[in-house]
């Protein structure tokens, strides 16, 4: 019994995993994602020019030599003092400096500062210069006071129940549930698409009849679902490895702050995984049903797109979920089949999803998944020999008379 199920699973796995399209999908997704992140990092790096910056201090604000920076590092920008605007301009034109600031004589009253550049400097330059101004203004204060004033406050945003905290900059732990939801969603749609395709192919090439006289529906459906899950896990493992690599490169090489010292919040991660598993089974069973029901390949793809839209509803409702993560609409989306996976992931970014909502969602998904498996078995029984004919939903639900193998339904 089990060995046949495994043979089917292995067949499905090998048939899909060694396809060029699968290998392309496996490689292309992390490549595109990594490429995009790399491009952003590159643009930021190119924008953050570390060439010296000049200043002309008509207000006598900055001490000479300028004081050592306090608080956050200013990114290694060297500041050079010029006595006149002409000297600074000459240095700019000869490209000895990337820009220069002119501090107005009445700065104390007007806070007016001019900036002159040939190519606009990056954010790091203005941040470093303003820290320099603040440090200079606080030069007569005790160092710890100056440091607090320049460094600002460390604000922690805490949810009303006190279970969730944000520390200003995004952390990997905070965004991971969302990333997981997206990854699961992508896997779920891709894998279940493979499953549907396999069933449609077997109907079209008439293999289904041979399989029906060799296997029980449970062996066939179970084997296919196990195979598809294995395909998903292969992709997921590959992506996780790429993700770890990206974190190491992003944190250590590109110095992206939120990728450094990642601390994981396991609660939201487990919530997403708990919802994802029955969602995966639900989607697989429904796609199997679609594959057994439709007459032709393209019909299956069209219906598959409808499922795709249902799963994507939380993305369209992102603003609502972000602004009111605990409102009724967000809670309902967390509980409904199809929408719960993305909603739970997104809500985890802005709030804490109560455990009872996660448990209820898992229960609803599991019930729906069980129903979908029943539906898949019925559709398989009824639709497997309907060559070129579409199976009506009424027939699957038992409203019609044609129930060829109804007695053996699992």
């Amino acid at each position: 019994m089990m060995s046949k199920l495994w043979y089917v699973a292995r067949h499905e796995y090998e048939r899909n995993v060694f396809k060029k399209s699968f290998i392309f999908a496996l490689v292309s997704v992390p490549l595109v994602l990594g490429g995009t992140i790399g491009m952003i990092a590159l643009m930021v790096a190119l924008d953050n020019n570390s060439a010296p910056v000049g200043y002309v201090d008509h207000a006598g604000l900055l001490a000479d030599p300028i004081p050592a920076p306090v608080g956050r590092p200013e990114g290694g920008i060297e500041f050079i003092s010029f006595p006149t605007d002409e000297d600074a301009r000459a240095a700019l034109e000869s490209k000895n400096i990337q820009a220069y600031y002119v501090i107005s004589p009445d700065y104390s009253e007007t806070s007016r500062i001019e900036m002159v550049y040939l190519k606009e400097p990056g954010e790091n330059v203005s941040r470093a210069f303003h820290e320099l101004i603040r440090t200079s203004l606080l030069a007569d204060q005790p160092p710890e006071i100056a440091q607090r004033a320049v460094g600002g406050s460390s604000v922690t945003v805490r949810s009303p129940d006190g279970r969730r905290e944000f520390h200003g900059v995004p952390t990997l732990g905070a965004v991971l549930p969302v990333l997981l939801s997206v990854a699961f969603l992508f896997l779920l749609l891709m894998s279940s698409g493979y499953l549907m395709q396999a069933v449609v192919d077997e109907k079209e090439n008439r293999t289904m009849e041979v399989l029906a006289t060799s296997l029980s529906p449970l062996q066939l459906i179970g084997g296919k679902v196990v195979g598809i899950v294995a395909i998903g896990l292969t992709q997921f493992t590959a992506w996780i490895l790429v993700g770890i690599l990206a974190i190491l490169i992003g944190g250590n090489v590109l110095s992206i702050s939120w990728l450094q010292n990642p601390s994981l919040d396991w609660g939201p991660i487990l919530a997403v995984v708990a919802v994802a598993i029955p969602s995966y089974v639900l989607a697989s069973a429904l796609m199997f049903t679609v594959g057994s029901t439709v007459a032709q390949d393209h019909e299956g793809q069209q219906i598959g797109m409808l499922f795709f839209m249902l799963f994507m509803i939380p993305i369209y409702a992102l603003v609502i979920i972000g602004e009111t993560p605990d409102a009724t609409a967000s809670v309902v989306l967390s509980l409904l089949p199809f929408t719960s996976l993305m909603t739970v992931g997104l809500r985890s970014l802005f709030s804490v999803v109560p455990w009872w909502q996660v448990a209820t969602s898992v229960a609803i998904q599991t019930t729906c998944a069980a129903g979908a498996l029943w539906l898949a078995a019925r559709a398989f029984r009824l639709g497997m020999l309907r060559y070129g004919q579409r199976l009506r939903i009424g027939e699957i639900l038992g409203k019609g008379r044609a129930a060829p193998m109804g007695r053996n339904l699992p």
């Binding site: 019994m1 046949k4 043979y7 089917v8 067949h11 048939r15 192919d201 077997e202 090439n205 008439r206 293999t207 289904m208 009849e209 041979v210 399989l211 029906a212 006289t213 060799s214 296997l215 029980s216 062996q219 020999l385 060559y387 019609g400 008379r401 044609a402 129930a403 060829p404 193998m405 109804g406 007695r407 053996n408």
Partner: protein
């Protein structure tokens, strides 16, 4: 114990009644022919027999009882619509399907190599199934049906797309399998093959059985209606002869209802006809088929 036994099965799809009332039993070790015109319910009957469809009424017993998962490994089925994975290589496809019938992978490889050689497909084993000709696919399907050495082989139109050489190959194989103890249920339109291979037949039309039994007995049953006569001179009019038809170097006398060949022979002798040859005209299965179906329709 019969290899298969079907009793008064009926099967409808919506308002269409595919099988109304069919009964038959298949003895172990025989080749059983399931005959009938297109749309007569042959394929549905086979699917009901194999538990692909549950019957609306009647009972089915296969290999001594209801179908079970264990029995599926003891049955080989070749559907009319050829069921092979078109995008797989011939070898991979047949190996996978044989593992689903419980054949260990190593054993399946050995058996497959032998069969591919016998069916002249060895050099094509690496090709995708869709790259093979119809005849080759047909042979591949036959290999798939017998690779796990089933006790019961159910085969739907086995000679379609086969040239005479391969037809003979398949016929020899079927006889060999029967001699080895396998039971074969064959659905076909090709009467010469049925006459050559089948021990017993069932003829169905409109989902009902019309003719069932031993092939020789059936022939005898339908043979009393004509005699072949060759005489030294012209044949006189004989009472009880409905029609006189020239037949090769003889004359075929079609007998009227109630007239026996014995009556005709006695009448000829009584009229002092010098009879050189007198034999009962055995109808071909084609003739029986047409006659029974036409009578059924009437």
């Amino acid at each position: 114990m019969h290899a298969a036994e079907v009793s008064h099965i009926a099967k409808s799809f919506g308002r269409t009644q595919a099988v109304a009332d069919v009964s038959f039993a298949v003895e172990r070790g025989e080749i059983f022919g399931l005959l009938g015109p297109n749309g007569s319910g042959k394929t549905t009957t086979l699917r009901v027999l194999l538990d692909v469809f549950k019957p609306d009424g009647g009972t089915v017993s296969i290999l001594g009882g209801p179908m079970s998962e264990e029995k599926k490994n003891r049955i080989g089925y070749m559907p009319e619509d050829r069921g092979l994975y078109q995008d797989l290589s011939l070898e991979k496809c047949l190996l996978y399907l044989s593992t689903l019938k419980g054949v260990p992978a190593k054993e399946a490889r050995t058996r497959l190599a032998e069969h591919l050689e016998r069916f002249d497909l060895a050099e094509h084993k690496g090709k995708k199934v869709k790259e093979l000709s119809k005849g080759m696919q047909q042979k591949a399907q036959i290999i798939n049906t017998i690779l796990h050495r089933p006790e019961l082989i159910v085969i739907d139109e086995p000679f379609t797309a086969l040239d005479p050489l391969n037809t003979q190959l398949v016929k020899d194989l079927m006889k060999e399998l029967r001699d080895q103890g396998s039971t074969i249920i064959m659905s076909t339109h090709q009467m010469p093959q049925v006459e050559e291979l089948c021990d017993r037949i069932l003829l169905i039309d409109d989902g009902r059985d019309l003719l069932y039994g031993d092939l020789d007995q059936i022939r005898r049953q339908y043979s009393g209606h004509a005699v072949l006569v060759r005489s030294a001179g012209d044949l006189p009019d004989v009472e009880g002869v409905a029609q006189v038809v020239p037949h090769n170097n003889a004359t075929k006398l079609m007998l009227a209802e109630g007239t026996s060949p014995q009556d005709v022979l006695e009448a000829l002798i009584a009229q002092r006809v010098i009879v050189e040859r007198f034999e009962i005209a055995v109808p071909t299965l084609d003739e029986i088929f047409i006659r029974v179906v036409e009578e059924g329709d009437a």
